[in-house]
Symmetry: C2
Subunit: 312 residues, 2 copies
């Protein structure tokens, strides 16, 4: 990849995080293009742990055929049904809770989302060898009025942590700078692209290796082709600024304190785990008026259901 490629938007910008850290040019590239590939965030050891955790959750889905917190391609009792997504994975798996306390990931998020970042959605999205349908071109959920003015620069971010390779024929594609498009241009373009089964006009592939993290602004138009016979698992953590959630939703104001408790617990669990004793834990320090964790009853679960904390 050349600098010219990245500048012209013909490639996803990338950051070799353990070699350079997050540089000003990475911040600007992400803010401009709405996407950034962070290479090599996970160590091999942590990657192995999280892969094992992912496998366990998917095996449980298959064996239980439960629809609680699990999205299936069809009703789960049907023979052709396959699971594609599991919600609240931080609550379901210790290695994923430890991952949610990853200091380098959280420092990147602090730079981009701001010091009052809170975790919102956490899930695993995956394609089993049973196959998965295309992901149509879309922006993510939970948008605001005047969304480009409010978050076009990328303050609401999905971090996709890859457990398996995502080559060009089985990866997310995105349209650089579409995070600044008007609603009308977004709708027209998505509708046009979604008419055919898989149209990548204007888009670039986000080719990822295991242990890489793809950051995308939730306003960036993205999609993925249908695929059969290939496994690909991604842990998604979404982050929002606490002050945006407080004043604009989509969750209630109380949600801020609840999810801050989750974040602090994950950071604490990781800091107490001997395997991470050589790391400097993330120092979570929102502005004083947004330190809301003491305002809420102490949580006994990391599962904070969206629908019980919804404002809209």
């Amino acid at each position: 990849m050349t600098v010219a490629d990245v500048r012209s938007g013909s490639r996803v910008p990338e950051c070799d995080i353990r070699r350079t850290g997050l540089l000003p040019e990475h911040v600007t590239a992400f803010r401009r293009q709405g996407v950034l590939a962070v290479r090599g965030l996970l160590t091999q050891e942590e990657l192995a742990d999280v892969r094992e955790a992912g496998k366990t959750l998917i095996d449980q889905a298959w064996s239980t055929r439960s629809m609680d917190d699990i999205v299936w391609t069809l009703e789960s009792h049907l023979p052709d049904a396959a699971p594609t997504r599991i919600e609240y994975v931080v609550d379901k798996s210790r290695p994923i809770a430890l991952l949610a306390g990853h200091p380098l990931l959280l420092r990147i998020m602090e730079q981009l989302v701001g010091p009052n970042l809170i975790p919102t959605w956490d899930s695993m999205v995956f394609k089993t060898t049973a196959g998965a349908p295309r992901l149509a071109w879309h922006r993510d959920a939970g948008l605001y009025d005047n969304a480009v003015g409010v978050t076009g620069m990328g303050r609401i971010i999905d971090a996709g942590i890859y457990l398996d390779p995502a080559p060009e024929d089985n990866c997310v594609w995105c349209i650089p700078e579409s995070n600044y498009w008007s609603d009308e241009r977004f709708t027209t373009t998505a509708d046009r692209l979604n008419v055919s089964e898989w149209d990548t006009t204007g888009a670039v592939p986000a080719v990822m290796a295991p242990g890489d993290v793809l950051l995308h602004n939730i306003l960036t138009l993205h999609g993925a082709p249908a695929v059969v016979g290939k496994q690909r698992r991604v842990i998604y953590f979404e982050y929002r600024p606490g002050e945006v959630e407080w004043q604009l939703g989509p969750h209630t104001e109380d949600y801020v304190g609840l999810k801050q408790q989750v974040l602090r617990s994950c950071v604490g669990m990781r800091a107490a785990d001997p395997r991470f004793s050589d790391e400097e834990p993330f120092d979570y320090r929102p502005a004083e008026s947004l330190q809301r964790w003491g305002d809420q009853p102490e949580i006994d679960t990391f599962r904070v259901p969206h629908e019980e904390n919804w404002r809209w």
Copy 2:
């Protein structure tokens, strides 16, 4: 100053820009506390030029007693009247236009405001030896509904470039983290502090040297004491994200393209000036959909009046 002072908010955080550049901890400190002192931005040579330009503008105010673009303590024909502020200084002075193209300043702004930054207000605010009244505790103008959600993290920034020393008895004071306060807490606190002539409860002084730049989030509560017999001149440049102006105002959408022309012209003037031939010019590259400079007639002035481009 110790790290503990800065972390506790008992001092203004600062960045020795030519030694370290803008580091992640500076970005986070600014986003959290709403203020950052950037030390030593101007060279001695550029500082001398801009000081001379400031002197010329103030001398002209005294000699003409004009009220066009000039704010006076009283009607300007009154014997005790003193000028305190001149608007549109980029249009009135070549050294100040060159300053508006400063690559290091603009790179800092790109990091904090985002790649679509546009310049909005430009003015010189000053205290002559004739004295100036206190600046009451306030947030700046042009706020949005749900302002903390929209810009609490500091995307709308006033950069105050100091031409004279601002010691503790003649400097701006600000309240760290008040950029995240609710309207009610802001109003209550400002009203309480403004009852007496000068109350600094909860505030910290922004002590500045000539050539330093004080960045403040427009939501950060700030004020300054009355002063007599001391000169202090500050060039203020405000910046906003183009996409915020486009979707939320306070100026019209057309204003974005007009002010982009001003910015590009200032950058070009500076790049063409032999005195700055050793600098790498600022590379202004907003997202394609926000490159609006070609949408407007070519400007023949850097004075783009707010009231002719007002949305609200």
